[in-house]
Symmetry: C2
Subunit: 641 residues, 2 copies
């Protein structure tokens, strides 16, 4: 399994320079001190400096063919398609409302050079074992490299990155796989593409009704059962696709559900409206999960399926139900799945280098999403992620959106001392996006030590939080304007996937909604002074309460439209931003040992609960507080239930 | 309308002492410095001090009658009920894993005394104009005082608060309205109870099918349209009730939806599966909303209703549709609603002292929740909130759960310097609870100045964030264990509303799930040292990555069960915690001027967009960045759409 690893593992140690090791760190600390003290560097002045502002933007332009989605045909048949028309799409990053000048950015690029950011990015791309603590490469970008024979799907045919509104071609090839020089990567790619073909075929069979349930029905609902939280990424993509017209059409009559919490209330919420006769279960089994009670939810769903189906149809056997209703996505030997009663045709591989939080482009996400929306839609999503990968791996640092976002993240958190970051998407379809960013970023960069094992001199990782924005009454805004400083990412779209123009309104609903996207960043940056309020005639005594200090940094990301392709771009953009920050800090963003201790202690608790419930064993081995809480918990169970 | 205000407005200024004005502040700063420097004060030692730990708990015990919920009858008929049985419920707060000793707590109680916390709480209770900037009283606690003639509903018949496991009676009266000495409050109460009767009657008519839609159908779906974000509180209560068996039964065949974002995607998500013939709309109209384009969503829904219903039935008039399908909750003169075509029987009052984020116990929340679950269920919820009000207003500070939570919040943020707070409910039914806490806390306490108008010496308000916890793989945990320190509230329940016991499992699913509730706080507090890892035989080079520094503070709240009553308790507990922190900081937690500026700037943007779209007016009056973004946005619209 490990034969595709680069043999150059030793190389990675030479990349272990971290930002605090290099002199550029001190220069940036000095610069930050100026920003925190010098009133002339308030954003209300910086934002009026036209020359400065026009230098602090970057954009990515992608030309794709018009997607050929199966319209109005949930079965996903491949009708003869009309000739493709070119589609231009842009992502504009405006970071002029960050507390930086052109000079600050130069210092940050110097820092990136000093810690060999470009080399690290290349080591990532070529499959070196950059996950050093687990001695693995990090290859999720390979999951979205299009197959060499990709047919009518939208393909990036030309790609440009621009800065200062000057378009410069960055990549001209459209044969991306030829770029992968690494033979090991090519071998991995073959496995990936084979799995994609397997998913394409299976999802088409299920969606067309050719693959039937144990009762002879077509499957309508899919439950994804995971032991970890990787479903947060799939959920984000799923919610976002729902707002897209063609994807929505392709999903009509189908539903997608996620079950990852062991709370029985979660199983109840997931199943209470479902018909087991038409429900397919995708079980994600990672290395660590088989054989442990991480299978609890799988057992719960199996019990629900078997009990309900056998009750209604006494001729059905448990084996046939499992064989038809249960599908596995696993990095384990398929044999382990067969022991669970899953058919060997229904086992979809992932690999031990697939990390939960970066797994949505593997079968973990691609299988359920293909069942719900059809493989074509999901391919377009993968193409978007690949487009962002190519931009990230190839564009110069100064034009590179994930690199810029990452450098600004380090600047805000490590140098200016802001601990949090608000993720504010302007689209109801992105309601699950902030939780995805929490997954990717907080689990990756919430670390204590650098790759060399030495404790960091500064806390790494930020607190990411957010909700769909757009409502000027949003509770965050009060605190962000007049309370603590929270750097924000505003994410908006030029087009609405569901436009409304009401008769008699001055603007469309989308324009109305987007007014806030353009207004809030300036309100945060400029603020409103006591002098302004005196001029407005606000009475003394009230004025002070209406002062807005301003100088609150933010980035604005304006994207052409929300569709499968741009959802893929967004996904990869935030993945790579996180990686960039990890590279600068010199940490390993790809392990997650911080999850282990809670898991271990929970096992001790479980053993105690089992013993006390069964034999009345006294609570022991815990501190006084935990013992008291456990006793209260157990004694209630005795009286009640 | 203002005749019920206390005439003692001048009094409030005497309460304007803030924590930084009193010598106790310095003593606490010194104490905090010790905690941050002295290794002997690490939680791994403090948590092993049994005497310390047993002093750092508090609990609230409430005895209620067994609720008489309409079971299995969605129409909510009032059958003769079986005789009530007493129900005992507890909330246990264990704060022994906070970085405090008994001495620290004494310093915090001294601080509370120095800033007259008890007087401020009393001024709040008796209806003084503690919202000084708007010269209003803060009366949301009156919204849940039970009517004097409340019939078979569960009533707190006895209430106890205990500390150190010694039960001490706190309140013995069960006639709560008699306690309200303030005549003004009594007048307000009459209005509140009249509105509750109006809601009870109307919701019963709708649920029984007696009140019919324009097509003669019974209403099944309710859409709540709000211009602000107050729906976050109603949404929390709604989601939580869904998991409760009796409430779930009472809601069968009905759905509740919320629309507050002007994104047309939100309207699409809200309406796309609904039948307008069976959809009732509750429009919340606050003072500021009528006449502005804050009516946009109302117009969108009106358009959707009228277009679809008239298309199918040409005899229907717009007037009859509005009269039957549209209901208003408003603090405005009812005349304004009549102008919108709403029937005068369908106008439910709120009052100008109702603050959006504290409005769920007014018609804003009670009407839609009564439509969905029946008035009886909602009354039980209100009784729970009232129970917590009584505890908060009457229990001594040392036994007072909201006071303790508030003091710990101030300690963590102002003295220890932790900027954020994780809200980690262990129940899938509380998935909307963290967003509710964000609403209540960040909008209330994210302030710049004290009540006296002077700038604070420290940032007020914390960043609240969270998700349903319980999965040991939750992405927060990595950062919380090995990254930044984030004080956490763990909230768990002794009983599951949907218990599952799978054959062959060592413990029930709820026990399995709750193992994490008991394990994570200790894992965060104790951590794991390098020495531990050496003993475990973890190889050098990996060990450093597996160290958990520990000393991460948290509180554990263990609650008997999740039901309408305890949902009400939770709601009020977090409302009052926020108020306590505001009182200590000396800020006005009840205004929200920080929302104004974004709203104003958005208006300028809207005017620009309208002019450019209609007449091609050039973008002007903005800074270079905003102009560029607006131009990109507008030029896309020209080509596309």
């Amino acid at each position: 399994m490990s034969n595709f690893y680069s043999t150059d593992a030793a190389m990675t140690s030479s990349y272990c320079v971290k930002c605090t090791d290099v002199p550029q760190f001190d220069a940036l600390q000095d610069a930050a001190a100026e920003f925190l003290l010098d009133e002339k560097l308030h954003l209300r002045y910086l934002c009026n400096d036209t020359a400065r502002c026009s230098g602090l933007t970057a954009s990515l332009t992608s030309y794709t063919q018009q997607p050929q989605l199966p319209l109005g045909n949930a079965a996903g048949s491949s009708l003869a398609a009309p000739p493709p028309t070119p589609l231009i799409r842009k992502i504009i990053l405006d970071y002029s409302r960050q507390q930086v000048t052109g000079e600050t950015m130069e210092l940050l690029f110097d820092l990136a050079d000093a810690v060999n950011l470009t080399d690290r990015r290349e080591a990532f791309r070529t499959g070196e074992r950059i996950n050093t603590t687990e001695n693995k490469p990090v290859l999720h970008h390979l999951l979205r490299v299009p197959p060499p024979d990709a047919p009518m799907r939208p393909q990036p045919v030309h790609r440009q990155a621009s800065i200062n509104n000057v378009n410069r071609p960055v990549i001209t090839t459209n044969n991306d796989t030829s770029e992968i020089s690494n033979r090991a990567n090519a071998a991995v790619l073959e496995q990936i593409h084979a799995t994609r073909r397997q998913i394409e075929k299976f999802s088409m069979q299920v969606r067309s009704g050719q693959y039937k349930s144990s009762t002879g029905d077509s499957f309508k609902d899919t439950i994804v059962v995971t032991a970890g939280m990787e479903q947060l990424a799939t959920r984000f993509v799923h919610r976002a696709l729902t707002a897209h017209q063609a994807a929505f059409q392709a999903s009509q009559g189908r539903r997608l559900h996620f079950l990852s919490n062991k709370d029985p209330v979660d199983s109840f919420f997931t199943t209470h409206e479902l018909n087991p006769a038409t429900t397919l279960v995708v079980m994600v089994l990672e290395e660590s999960t088989i054989g442990s009670n991480e299978l609890l939810n799988w057992k719960t769903i199996r019990h629900w399926l078997v009990t309900n189906l056998c009750k209604e149809n006494s001729t059905l056997s448990e084996a046939s139900i499992l064989e038809l209703h249960m599908v596995a996505v696993t990095s384990k030997d398929p044999q382990a799945c067969l022991q669970l009663g899953i058919s060997k045709n229904n086992v979809f591989p992932i690999w031990d280098w697939v990390i939960g939080r970066f797994s949505v482009c593997s079968a973990v996400g691609v299988l359920p999403l293909s069942l719900q929306y059809g493989y074509e839609v999901v391919s377009e999503f993968l193409d978007g992620a690949h487009d962002m990968d190519e931009h990230f791996f190839n564009a110069p640092l100064r034009d590179n959106i994930p690199v810029l976002l990452g450098l600004l993240g380090v600047w805000n958190s490590t140098f200016l001392g802001y601990t949090a970051r608000a993720i504010l998407p302007f689209s109801e379809a992105l309601d699950a996006f902030p939780a995805y960013v929490q997954l990717v970023d907080m689990e990756s960069n919430g670390k204590r030590v650098a790759m060399d094992g030495l404790e960091l001199f500064h806390p790494a990782g930020e607190l990411n939080f957010g909700e769909v924005a757009g409502n000027p009454h949003h509770p965050f805004y009060q605190l962000m304007h007049q309370g603590r400083v929270v750097p924000a990412d505003f994410i908006g779209f030029m087009e609405s996937p569901r436009p409304i123009e009401l008769p008699g309104e001055a603007v469309s609903s989308h324009d109305e909604f987007m007014s806030n996207f353009f207004a809030q960043p300036d309100a945060l940056a400029y603020g409103k002074s006591l002098v302004d309020l005196v001029q407005e005639g606000v009475p003394d005594g009230l004025r002070e309460h209406m002062v807005f200090p301003g100088n609150r940094p933010s980035s604005s990301l304006l994207i052409t439209r929300l569709d499968p392709f741009s959802i893929g771009q967004l996904l990869a953009m935030y993945e790579h931003r996180t990686a960039v920050q990890g590279f600068i800090w010199g940490i390993n963003s790809f392990d997650q040992f911080g999850l282990e201790m809670g898991k271990l202690l929970a096992k001790y608790i479980r053993v105690q609960l089992a013993a006390s419930r069964r034999t009345g064993a006294t609570v022991q081995g815990f501190n006084q507080s935990t013992s008291s809480l456990l006793e209260a918990y157990l004694s209630h169970g005795k009286k009640g239930k």
